[in-house]
Amino acid sequence: MNPATKPTHAEQPAAHLRLVSDRAGGATPGIKLSGVSKTYRSRDGDVPSLRPLDFTINDGEFFVVVGPSGCGKSTLLKMISGLLPPTTGEVLVDGEVVTRPHGNVGIVFQNALLLPWRNILSNAMLPIDMKRLARDKYLARAKALLKLVGLEGFEKKLPWQLSGGMQQRASICRALVHDPKIMLMDEPFGALDAMTRERMNVELMRIQRETGKTVLLITHSIPEAVFLADRVLVMTERPGAIAAIYDVPMPRPRSLETMSDPVFTELVQRIRKHFFTQGSLD
């Protein structure tokens, strides 16, 4: 049991609000973090970014992390992708300790980060070039993915010719083209307007269902987190630690109407309380 989750145990009214620190079911853990912490060294001394974390994410799970700014969410993402070594502890992906970029992830950032000199199709093919995979083998897959996200007919366009939402869809294709097991998303819809954002949420759920990927998504928006997630991890302020992990027992497929479900609103309320007691979520 994680000590951080204990205090809230006493006041648990309903089943869906129960905290789950770890799901020891039959599902295989796709990602496992044991005692992972990160401390950055700077001139003014060591700056702790993440306190030791222990949790697992199951295969095919939609796992969402919410937390205040600067709580080390992005650090977490970099450690899972192998870009950053943890200061202590180990990250395991598929049972193997991550020591360097393993390529079994697709990453989506807040900005689409498409290369402006490549057209949409060729942007989506970037991981194939980087991993030195056979281009012709994956070309059809890239085109199918672009179709899946509704970008059919835009393959030859340059990124600046597309809207923000369309660019972000293209970057989702890029994250999926090499068929990774895990999709890491760092506030993927933070730069989009509210309406586009809701539509992208629904689409992301559809894409995840159709591809069966394990998704780790980081967000500032609590309703977005609850709407998308199988489980929501709530983080504390810097240095980040696990405040709680919540199950979201709402059936799939979910639609925007799910947001008016009492289970949904209660869960949102409950997660929001974490931030009201410890500070603000900006």
Binding site: K78, S81, G82, L83, P101, H102, G103, V105, I107, F109, N111, L113, L115, P116, W117, L126, P127, D129, M130, K131, R132, F154, K157, L158, W160, Q161, L162, S163, M166, H178
Partner: protein, 269 residues
């Protein structure tokens, strides 16, 4: 339709983008001529445009012959500054250690007036083309380095992380992300560099040469032959403009995707 929109062919031509600088030039030349007539400026101080043009026409073969060494030295110096400037910028942008050692020295070397040390190159390398090339190179080198460093450094670190997370090797990530990203900045540096390389070549010719436009200028100022001196200036300006234009064309070919090259508007909102 087209007839209705443009009342006359003449106004269309006058409004074309490439005509405007020429129109402005005509205005300047007319003002130059008028002020000489109005203020009775003697010809040994400022020659009239007519005299300059007549020298340009009568001495054209000689001027053209003398402009080749200058052009040659300029291009060599410019290519050298690109050839050395871009890799040096890569090293400076890629390594904090290299930056801390090299960059301050580079800035320091820029504060040394090239004209003052140009005679040194004549002492070292004689009266041939080498002093001119070196002086063109020294003037053109710095802007390339400064712009390219800025270009290499302005790459979004997330973009590099993204490519690295896909197991891209350092070299592959550099070629796919960093280098193309730095291209617009490199080209803006190259454009400044090419015009400065002209200056550098002329400086080289001033101090020790018996050929080139710089030599023509030096000689004509010695004999108070101001129309020839001004004609040489016109040739130099033309040389700068043509070389700049060539770099600009190459830029359009190499980075057609860049914002500065877009002339059609976005259609997908």
């Amino acid at each position: 339709m087209a007839e209705a929109k443009s009342p006359s062919g003449l106004s269309k031509v006058l409004n074309a983008a490439w005509v405007r600088p020429f129109l402005f030039l005509v205005v300047i030349v007319v003002a130059w001529d008028l002020s000489i007539r109005l203020f009775h400026i003697p010809a040994y101080q400022i020659p009239s445009p007519g005299d300059v043009v007549s020298v340009l026409i009568s001495d054209w073969p000689e001027l053209l012959r003398q402009s080749w060494p200058t052009t040659y030295a300029t291009i060599c110096g410019f290519l050298l500054s690109a050839l050395f400037g871009i890799p040096v910028a890569m090293l400076i942008a890629g390594s904090k250690t290299v930056e801390s050692y090299v960059y301050p020295l580079l800035v320091f070397s820029q504060s040394v007036p090239k004209i003052a040390i140009a005679p040194l190159f004549v002492v070292w390398f004689g009266f041939g083309i080498i002093p001119k090339v070196i002086s063109a190179f020294l003037l053109g080198f710095f802007p390339v380095v400064v712009s390219a460093v800025q270009g290499f450094k302005s790459v979004d670190p997330d973009m590099v992380d993204l490519a690295r997370a896909m197991q891209g090797s350092r070299f592959k990530v550099f070629c796919a992300v960093n280098l193309p990203h730095a291209m617009p900045a490199i080209f803006s540096g190259l454009k400044v560099s090419v015009t400065l390389a002209v200056v550098g070549a002329v400086v080289g010719e001033f101090v020790g040469s018996n050929s080139g436009i710089g030599y023509v200028m030096q000689r004509s100022i010695g004999t108070f032959d101001l129309p020839t001196m001004f004609a040489a200036l016109v040739i130099l300006a033309l040389l700068g403009v043509i070389l700049f234009w060539i770099v600009d064309r190459i830029e359009r070919l190499v980075i057609p995707w860049h914002v500065s090259q877009r002339d059609d508007i976005s259609f997908a909102s």
